[in-house]
């Protein structure tokens, strides 16, 4: 049965990308994280040598016991040999325990370091990074890809060393025991290596398909579970079931079977080869024993060694596979860490002094690094301390970019942004943003209590201050009516609160921060009339006495502004007060006519 079902290309493509071969550059990059622990690793390696030696000596003790003790009819020699064997095995146990402990700790330390480094880097990446990278992708990088890195460090790297040591040790022991018999065993080796490589190749292709099947099934399920209400509303269940069982799940089944077919071949083939080696040794070695060129003990030890020789080879091929599969993850981690930080503090950046609130845009232009099209074109704007600026214009006109430049989420590509006459690029981001507040369109609340969410504006604020801020924006009334008042925990994404309530909490947060400059992106989503009323008066409180930039949607906010700035296609086309702009009968008038939201 051949697989005729072909999953969509986006699935197969992403799986192909995942299937990187071994890449020394990536391995090198990852080893950078291991560097601080080289000393401990070296020590563990030394322990490993001792452990391997002890382990390899096992069959030799068996040989000694048979030849010197049992066959020689010498009970004392037998007891002595067995006792030494016991002591060696105890030593091996101790050293092995020590080694495993050291190595796994190193492994965990490295992973901890990688996660911390990634998070710290994420805190410094510009916001345009987050436009490209979804939340899910970031989490995949830090959780899943670091998880595969764990395989890389704790399993792949260490096991490879261990297996190599094991092979070398056994090799030495076998040759020392009897050179001819060793050659006999090695004769099977090329067959073994060939079989292993052929199998791995086939297996990899199959596993890639299985992974594609899993992610296909995952994405189909995700869509239909998330959209189950639409599925039911349009009565699509039967058809969906046909698609799932006939294509997606069928592909899952077929790829699993393909993989099973190859996998079920491998072990038996290797076993046959092992049996071949054993049979050869038994026959040739047996003849040698009869010819009295070797002892029975040597032959027995040899049969034991054969197994110990092949096992690490098998394991090695498995590890190499793991190593390869970690490459893609490792590469993505390094890629994230290499993403340049676009907005940096200059080396001699000063602390921003206490802001009075004068804002100037001088010939400011801006385009994103990956797109030469200008988002802002020669913006000139002069705002006096305490003024409220309403930015109006269509979606995509550049309103948001203006406030992002003011908060220095990006640096302008032309011209400069000045606060109190100081170019923003000459001061530290922290000192600037500590004096700024921002209220976003979709008010984001963190998991935690209502109090903690307001407190986010100023961590050291007292409870009275939190309550005062909530009262000032009219949020206190509904907060005290919540189940646990200010201690009510806000669930994931703030789902238990209405949009209006979340907005009020974010207002309180901004008010508590008491910023000199406030940036406010008014929400477009509708709230009921009563809440709308509260929000409008809260806005007045919030804007009072500070320089404010408002991306405005509410008519009342716009008409009350000291300065209305009309943006169109990245340029300021008109600015002035409401009445003056209306009189001009220009762009503002047009916008006004089609109706701002109330």
């Amino acid at each position: 049965m051949t697989t005729k079902i072909i999953p969509p290309t986006f699935i197969t493509q992403s799986e192909e990308q995942l299937d990187k071969g071994y890449d020394p550059k990536v391995a090198q990059g990852l080893m950078e994280f291991v560097k601080p622990y080289y000393g401990q690793m070296l020590f563990a390696l030394a322990l490993m040598v001792v452990v391997t030696a002890a382990s390899v000596s096992g069959p030799y003790f068996v040989k000694l016991a048979i030849d010197e003790g049992i066959n020689a009819n010498d009970p004392i020699a037998l007891s002595t040999i067995v006792l030494v064997y016991l002591l060696v095995s105890i030593a091996q146990l101790g050293f092995n325990y020590w080694r495993v402990r050291i190595m796994s700790r190193v492994g965990q330390h490295v992973l901890y370091d990688v996660r911390t480094t990634m998070f710290a880097h994420l805190q410094r990446l510009s916001l345009s990074f987050y436009n490209r990278y979804s939340v899910g992708r970031v989490i995949t990088r830090v959780i899943n890809d670091v998880g595969t890195l764990r395989e890389f460090i704790t399993w792949a790297v260490l096991a490879i060393v261990r297996n190599l040591l094991g092979i070398i040790g056994t090799l030495i022991a076998m040759i020392a025991l009897n050179f001819k018999l060793s050659l006999l065993t090695f004769a099977v080796l090329p067959l073994m290596v060939f079989a292993t490589i052929a199998f791995r190749k086939a297996a990899r292709k199959n596993y890639r398909k299985v992974r594609a099947a899993v992610s296909w099934a995952n994405s189909v399920l995700a869509e239909n579970v998330n959209g189950v209400r639409v599925v039911q509303a349009f009565s699509r269940q039967q058809r969906n079931h046909q698609t799932f069982s006939g294509y997606v799940n069928r592909y899952f089944l077929e790829t699993s079977l393909d993989a099973a077919r190859v996998a079920s071949l491998f072990t038996p083939v290797i076993d046959v080869l092992g049996a071949l080696a054993t049979a050869l040794v038994v026959y040739i070695g047996g003849t040698a024993v009869l010819g009295e060129s070797i002892t029975a003990g040597v032959l027995i030890a040899f049969v034991l060694y054969i197994d110990r020789f092949f096992e690490p080879i098998r394991d090695l091929s498995r590890r190499f596979d793991t190593l390869q599969s970690t490459m893609a993850g490792g590469e993505r981690i390094l890629e994230l860490l290499k993403t340049p930080i676009e907005v940096r503090d200059e080396e001699n950046a000063k602390e921003m002094e206490s802001i009075t609130g004068a804002v100037r845009f001088e010939h400011v232009s801006f385009h994103y690094s990956d797109d030469p099209a200008l988002v802002l074109d020669q913006i000139d704007l002069d705002v006096k301390p305490g003024e409220t600026v309403a930015l109006v214009g269509e979606t995509g006109a550049g309103k948001t970019t203006i406030v992002k430049l003011l908060a220095r989420f990006h640096d302008p590509t032309g011209g400069c942004v000045l606060v109190d006459g100081v170019d923003l690029r000459t001061v530290t981001q922290q000192s600037l943003r500590r004096q700024m507040g921002m209220v976003l369109q979709d008010p984001f609340l963190f998991n935690g209590t209502v109090r903690e969410n307001i407190l986010f504006g100023r961590l050291d604020a007292k409870d009275e201050e939190v309550i005062a801020a909530a009262k000032a924006v009219g949020a206190h009334d509904f907060i005290v009516n919540l189940k646990n008042g200010y201690e009510t925990s806000v669930e994931e994404g703030g789902v238990t609160l209405s949009v209006g309530q979340r907005q009020l909490i974010s207002f309180a947060r901004a008010l508590l921060a008491n910023p000199r400059i406030l940036i406010l992106d008014e929400a477009t989503s509708s709230v009921d009339t009563q809440t709308e009323h509260i929000i409008q008066s809260a806005l007045a409180t919030l804007l009072k006495g500070r320089t404010s930039f408002v991306i405005a949607h509410r008519l009342s906010t716009i008409t009350n502004a000291d300065k209305i700035v009309v943006i169109d296609g990245g340029r300021i086309t008109e600015q002035g007060r409401h009445a003056d702009l209306l009189e001009m009968k220009g762009r503002y008038y047009e916008l006004y006519k089609t109706g701002f939201q109330e």
Binding site: S89, I143, L221, L257, A260, F456, V527, D528, K593
Partner: protein, 605 residues
């Protein structure tokens, strides 16, 4: 455990495959048991007695056995995997279909991510357990029994002595299995916390930056990160203990055999070959015994997976068509609510109380009221997304609980608050409810929904893939595709759930005109925030705290001076200045703009 046994029922269709696989396993184990015996003969009869032909025969026998067990091994392994893959296939189909039929009330509480991982991860855990763990376990049991029998029959004393270390080994493995499960659970929880921290930080990145809270966030992350580290160490310490110890216990077995067996050989009660064979048997058992740890783990995972799978499968979809359900033919479009109450599970207060309503065919019903007043609850009862707790909902005089669900829902078109599209072509999305629709019908629906123009502007037109992996449509574009999707159903009853709350004003205007077309000649329920729509409705329902507090036409309700008038006046007040400045001249210029100018937002669903 109980759940794992229940999964065995899924093996039923594959009874003969299971039997064949078991027979192969049994034979395989028997062949394996012969190998040490042959080696023993080689040593005792071949080497010690100098019998050359015996040597040749043994070597050939070893090779033959190797080949035989290879074939059987192949068959057994493939058989197990085949069975597992088919059980997995069946389970996933069952799960998927079941989830599709689970009612809204279930999905309201279920996390979609969890449901998906139940279908994939949990089923795979069961598959793995059935495909490799169970055969291994059976093999271990068979081997143990076989080896015990062989050893005891050869020399009972040495058998007991040499197998002594297996007792602590099995005990340790078993206790490790139970302990490690808990430790891994702790790791998972810690990783989950790191993932939560991260998710919040990334989702709220603008807030974090805006308030310059990077250091604070980093500290919080490090606490969670440290916890992962510590929890992993707990796991690893257990590993570090058990892995070297099991190896050591096996070596101890060899040492015991050498010492006591050797004594017996010297005394003449045992042959050297037997000592070697004993050692070989011990090693043969050691591998599966060590794998027991993995088995216990896999078993635990599979049991947990099975429990979660059955949790879903055992949930009875309480909204299904009755056996004797009436298949509806074309509806007239009459909707009646008779003293309807609705209380969602786990909620203390009813979301709808004693709602009574009579709607004639082709009437437009507008619902207004504050958030949480029961508007969405009311409309969700019409396609029977939920069942009433009290009273009855009747369509054309039939209780919705008595009719065949598909025949009902196919005649109802719904545009939800946020319109979800699937990763497919725009055409397939519009034809979602009627996959057999012709291209002309699809285009006509798109045109009516004001979507045709923007769809044509894409290079691939209607074949453009949308959704997560395709072209990103704006909120307004998505909404119009969703409207076209509903329109193509040519529904007798149309439900619009606040479909305009998340689009900007210009788009709102476009969609509104699309909706006007859509509403013609159908019974329409609309959760509205535009006075223009509300005003035009044949019936306005003012809802508050789950009750219909006022019901009537615009003029009637205004005259009554209740909540409707209050909301109306509040909106009027809010746009007062606006009207004075601009309304008059525009109204005289372009009277058709009236709808948008009086745009008022009263509420959201």
């Amino acid at each position: 455990m109980k759940n794992l046994i229940r999964t065995a029922a899924f093996l039923k269709p594959y009874a003969w495959q299971v039997t064949a696989t078991l027979v192969m396993l049994l034979t395989l184990t028997g062949l394996n048991l012969l190998v040490p015996r042959i080696i023993q003969n080689v040593i005792d009869d071949g080497l010690l007695r100098g019998d050359m032909t015996h040597l040749i025969r043994s070597a050939l026998l070893l090779l033959g056995l190797g080949l035989g067990s290879a074939l059987l091994g192949m068959g057994n392994r493939y058989g197990s995997e085949w069975i597992a893959a088919h059980v997995g296939y069946d389970l996933r189909n069952r799960m998927y279909d079941h989830i599709q039929y689970l009612p809204f009330s279930y999905h309201d509480h279920a996390q979609s991510g969890q449901l998906i991982s139940r279908c994939i991860e949990d089923v795979r855990a069961i598959e793995r357990f059935a495909g490799s763990s169970i055969p291994e376990l059976v093999r271990f049991v068979l081997l143990t029994v076989g080896i015990l029998a062989v050893m005891v029959s050869a020399n009972a004393t040495l058998a007991v002595i040499s197998l002594l270390p297996m007792v602590p080994l099995i005990l340790m493995t078993a206790s490790f299995g139970t302990k490690i499960g808990k430790l891994f659970f702790a790791v998972d929880m810690a990783v989950g916390e790191v993932s939560n921290r991260l998710q919040e930080n990334v989702t709220g990145v603008q807030v974090v930056r805006a308030f310059a809270r990077e250091e604070y966030e980093t500290r919080r992350f490090e606490t969670a990160n440290k916890d992962v580290f510590v929890k992993w160490l707990h796991v690893i310490d257990e590993w570090a203990k058990i892995m070297p110890t099991t190896n050591w216990l096996i070596t101890i077995g060899t040492i015991l055999i050498l010492y006591f067996g050797g004594q017996m050989v010297i005394e003449g009660t045992l042959t050297i070959g037997a000592v070697v064979a004993f050692n070989a048997y011990l090693l043969m058992m050691a591998e599966p015994a060590q794998a027991l740890t993995g088995l216990v783990n896999a078993g635990g995972e599979a049991a947990a997976g099975a429990q979660r799978v059955f949790e879903v499968l055992d949930t009875v979809p309480d909204i299904r068509s009755r056996k004797d359900a009436l298949t509806l033919s074309a509806l007239r479009g009459e909707v009646e609510f008779r003293n309807v109450s609705l209380k969602y599970q786990d909620e203390k207060v009813s979301s709808l109380s004693d709602a009574t309503l009579q709607v004639h065919p082709n009437q437009i019903v507008a619902l207004i009221g504050p958030t949480g007043s029961g508007k969405t609850s009311l409309i969700n009862l019409i396609p029977r997304f939920y069942d009433v707790t009290d009273g009855a909902v009747l369509i054309d005089g039939h209780d919705v609980r008595d009719v065949e669900l598909t025949s009902l829902r196919r005649q109802i078109g719904i545009v939800l608050q946020t319109s979800l599209l699937f990763s497919d072509t725009i055409k397939a999305n519009i034809a979602y409810g009627r996959p057999d629709a012709t291209d002309e019908e699809v285009f006509a629906a798109a045109k009516a929904a004001q979507a045709h123009e923007f769809i044509e502007s894409f290079t691939k037109g209607y074949e453009t893939i949308v959704g997560e992996r395709g072209v990103t449509l704006s909120g307004g574009q998505r909404q119009r595709v969703a409207i076209a999707r509903a329109l193509l159903m040519d529904p007798r009853i149309l439900i619009l759930d606040d479909s305009l709350s998340s689009v900007d004003t210009q788009t709102e205007k476009l969609i509104q005109s699309a909706l006007d077309v859509l509403m013609e000649g159908r019974t329409t329920f609309v959760i509205a925030h535009r006075l223009s729509t509300v005003r035009r409705a044949d019936v306005i329902l003012v809802m508050d705290k789950g009750r219909i507090v006022e019901q009537g036409t615009h003029d009637e309700l205004l005259a009554r001076g209740g909540l409707y008038k209050e909301i109306h006046d509040l909106q009027l007040m809010q746009r007062d200045g606006f009207e004075e400045a601009i309304l008059e001249p525009i109204l005289t210029e372009k009277p058709q703009h009236e709808n948008t100018i009086i745009a008022g937002r009263s509420n959201s669903g």
